[in-house]
Amino acid sequence: MKKNLLILAVFASAAIVGCNKTEGPETYTATITLEAEEGVTIPDGIEFNIVATNFDTKQEKTVKAENNVAEVKGLIAGNYTFMASAEYVSESGSKSIYSGSLTNVSILQDEALAMKIDRAQASTLVLKELYYNCSKTAANKPYMKEQFYEIYNNSEEVVYADGLCFGHLMPESATGLANYDWGAEYPLDKYVFFGRIMQVPGKVGDKNYPVAPGESIILCQYATDHTVPALNPNSINLSSGEFEYYETTNTMQTDQPAVNLKMVYPINPSSPYKIWTMTVNGPAMAMFYPEEDFSVDKVLTDNNNKVTQCYPIPASLILDAVEAIKDETQVKNKRVPTSLDAGYIWVVDDAGEPALQVGKSIVRKVAETREDGRVILQDTNNTTNDFELKKREIRRYGAKIPAWNTWAK
């Protein structure tokens, strides 16, 4: 009896599905030709991965290019981001990443597209762990003083942090004011626009702050043990942090043994900012070595459209950049040019919902672990691929403390 009913059910289901069988939306093919940027030579035999991502469905298709041409088939009509990347290790052992992207491409029919490929030296210093989301006190109040940013030497050579700059890009939250047009002099794919820049003391070329392979430096808002009862037992101990921002008129903070960062932008020596915070809603962050002194003359100001100020830095100087946003609705408002970083990430709680003050960091993934235990972190210039969420922790994966940090216990 059950078998007869099941057969009847199958036929009826097939009939009803057959009557309304929909083939789904029509699909198209995007043929992408990879072309080298001016001054770049794509090595022979390098194999590019092309990833096509539909903005609405998030569906991804990955194909390999042959002779620098890739056919991505089966695309439904929609807006897509196409990203190409390939890794190349030269005979001398240096690693380069060749990458390119096309964003916001409407596919409404079969399309032939050209993508420019640029070359980036795998960065020696990378942004390893970024803790901006914060946590809450036992009284369920937001606790913001514990923000920190860990920078890791991902290479085989000693790097010097003297003069290194780090900060967030404008707008501070990824609202519709991202991609503001500052004019022909500052094309959006060639510049990044900082809202605040913190600098390690010293000039580029000085050697006061060496960072050996496998070592980290931690930049803190306040490099103290935040777990003491007077602050927030739910927080983290940052007393071993290398750098902090301390402004002498700030009565909420005491000067710790960590080296004091300079706030080089905004340039306001008569009324400096008392604290250094980033938005918990997801900042875009980047670091670079400056090639010239900071000057008020370079500050961009436009009080129309409620965009106030920012400091432009050429994208070619950026060592590493990360795009953190609040949630999926802000994806279209990326602040980091896709040529520097093609992805994004946001913090979610344990239920998978975008959340604030849940004590999680965005953490760069491990690409490989060397025999001596030193990790090499993944760096494909794509936040989506390179980062994951973890409960905040300093110097994870065994990152070591620089020798000149004598106050770390």
Binding site: L8, I16, E23, I76, G78, T329, A351
Partner: protein, 510 residues
């Protein structure tokens, strides 16, 4: 309020009091069973197969509780309904009218920010995971009129239905749906001979719903803009980029054909119809950002047989098939000026489909020793087969199931000293699941919409269920009519989960 009262007053006029003529719940039940044409939308059929005159007014309170439910329903639901309906002739025009007011309060609902009528057939809605309450009220009015036979052959008729509703979610993010529907179904019947008749109707329905969103307790809350089977995009209520009001204009066209044979002791009626319904969903009429469109084709057919005098029997079979396409839009904002219409549609995509078919058969026997308007015993059986197949096309996700259910019922009417009546009814049934799978292949497989909501919905439709129901009522015939007090209950048991509805009603038949 005054307009509502006027509508109610008109209905009451249509159902004006007549001297009590043995009207009671049993007579109403037989009245509707024997009037085959009344079960169709063809109002003109009342000219050849009319209802007996009757009037009734009733008030019902029900309480529903239990965890065997959709997450969009309440852990507990309290409902109050007031209804009046009746049939009579004014001159040679045969009339029937029905007015109902429904009030519902649901506590502990989830994953429904916007829908007054949550349904798997409308995917383009807004959801959130916060558990909260819903407050709903609805008015529904129907009128059927059949005009006298022309040339002893042709009868014209019309059926009109008007409904309006308003709901309010009681916790942030809050959705307030307000809507109406008006349906007109003109009809005609051609009496080919004293026993054979043909009929046809044309259907048009217009509906509209507007949903506004707000936060009372906070500034901005995250919501899911659903697309079907767990696929969604993120949005927020209030805050930067918050969603605007949702609008759902709906239009339905259709028609039906009927054939009847009304012999001495045998009656047959065949009815078949088709409807096409299109519902658009969009935000903000000034910029018309489209959220989706459903296009539904609905086919239904039924066959009824009635015969017998003392042992009045009815057999009916019904078949309905619904096929819905879900369309999404690729749009481009052409201008930042929201006072115009900046969204241009670049492509329309067939992204999903929702199909279901239901076949059922029913049998009832009424033992009527005292005449055609009362019965002492009723026995009946029902058999139903239901299949559903939903699909999201890119990436492919499916949601389907097949169930068969059977039930038996019996009622005993006991008359005590002419004016008193006790009625007891019992029924039991079983739903057996023949199979079904929910297979999600989108990018958010770990999201709670998939792991909690849709998984729970699928389990709701695929669990085997034991069903039981009962009713007990006492009626007293008064000088002008019959007053009836009833208590009833219905229970579903699906493994560890269950759901029960208990109700009390007071009705007056006159």
């Amino acid at each position: 309020m005054k307009r509502t009262f006027n509508i109610l007053f008109c209905i009451m006029l249509l159902t004006r009091a007549l001297p009590g003529q043995g009207q009671n719940a049993a007579s109403l039940e037989l009245n509707r069973s024997q009037s085959l044409w009344f079960s169709t939308g063809n109002a003109a059929g009342m000219a050849v197969n009319p209802l007996w005159d009757y009037n009734t007014v009733s008030a019902v309170y029900t309480n529903t509780s239990g965890d065997f439910k959709s997450l969009q329903r309440g852990d507990r639901e309290d409902a109050a309904t007031v209804n009046t309906n009746g049939a009579l002739s004014i001159g040679n025009i045969r009339l029937w009218g029905d007015f109902s007011f429904f009030y519902d309060y649901w506590t502990g609902t989830q994953y429904n920010t916007s829908s007054f009528f949550p349904s798997l057939d409308m995917p383009y809605t807004v959801a959130d995971p916060n558990k909260g309450d819903w407050n709903k009220q609805r008015y529904d009015m129907s009128v059927k009129a059949a005009f006298p036979l022309l040339w002893d052959r042709l009868a014209l008729g019309v059926r009109i239905n008007y409904s309006t509703y308003k709901g309010a979610k009681q916790i942030d993010p809050r959705g307030v749906p307000i809507g109406y529907g008006i349906e007109a179904e003109p009809s005609f019947v051609v009496r080919l001979s004293p026993k054979h008749s043909l009929g046809a109707t044309f259907i048009y329905r217009n509906g509209f719903e507007r949903i506004s969103f707000s936060n009372v307790q906070g500034t901005s809350t995250m919501v899911y803009l659903l697309k079907g089977l767990g696929t969604f995009s993120s949005g927020s209520v209030s805050g930067t980029g918050g969603i605007g009001n949702y609008y759902y204009p709906a239009n339905t066209f259709g028609g039906s054909l009927q054939y009847s044979f009304l012999g001495g002791r045998l009656g047959i009626l065949a009815d078949g119809g088709y409807r096409r319904e299109v519902i658009d969903a969009f935000q903000s009429p000034t910029i018309a950002y489209r959220m989706g469109t459903t296009e539904a084709d609905k086919i239904n057919a039924s066959l009824q047989f009635v015969w017998g005098k003392k042992y009045f029997q009815k057999v009916s079979a019904e078949l309905s098939s619904t096929s819905i396409k879900g369309k999404e839009y690729l749009q481009e904002q052409t201008s930042g000026d929201e006072s115009r219409n900046p969204y241009k549609v670049l492509a329309v995509l067939d992204m999903s489909s929702y199909s279901h078919m239901e076949a059922s058969a029913h049998y009832d026997m009424y033992i009527r020793p005292a005449g055609p308007k009362d019965y002492r015993w009723n026995f009946g059986a029902d058999l139903e087969f239901l299949t559903r197949a939903d699909r999201y096309n890119a990436p492919v996700s499916t949601f389907d199931y097949q169930n068969v259910s059977a039930s038996l019922h019996a009622r005993r009417n006991i008359v005590i000293k002419e004016r008193n009546r006790i009625s007891i009814k019992a029924e039991c049934g079983y739903r057996y699941n023949l199979g079904g799978v929910y297979d999600y292949n989108g990018s958010d497989s770990g999201h709670r919409l998939v792991t909690e909501f849709y998984t729970s919905e699928h389990r709701l439709y695929t669990d085997d269920v034991v069903m039981a129901g009962w009713e007990a009522s006492y009626s007293r015939t008064l000088s002008a009519g019959t007053l009836s007090l009833s208590v009833q209950g219905g229970h579903q048991f699906a493994g560890e989960r269950s759901r029960s509805i208990l109700g009390v009603s007071l009705a007056y038949f006159f």
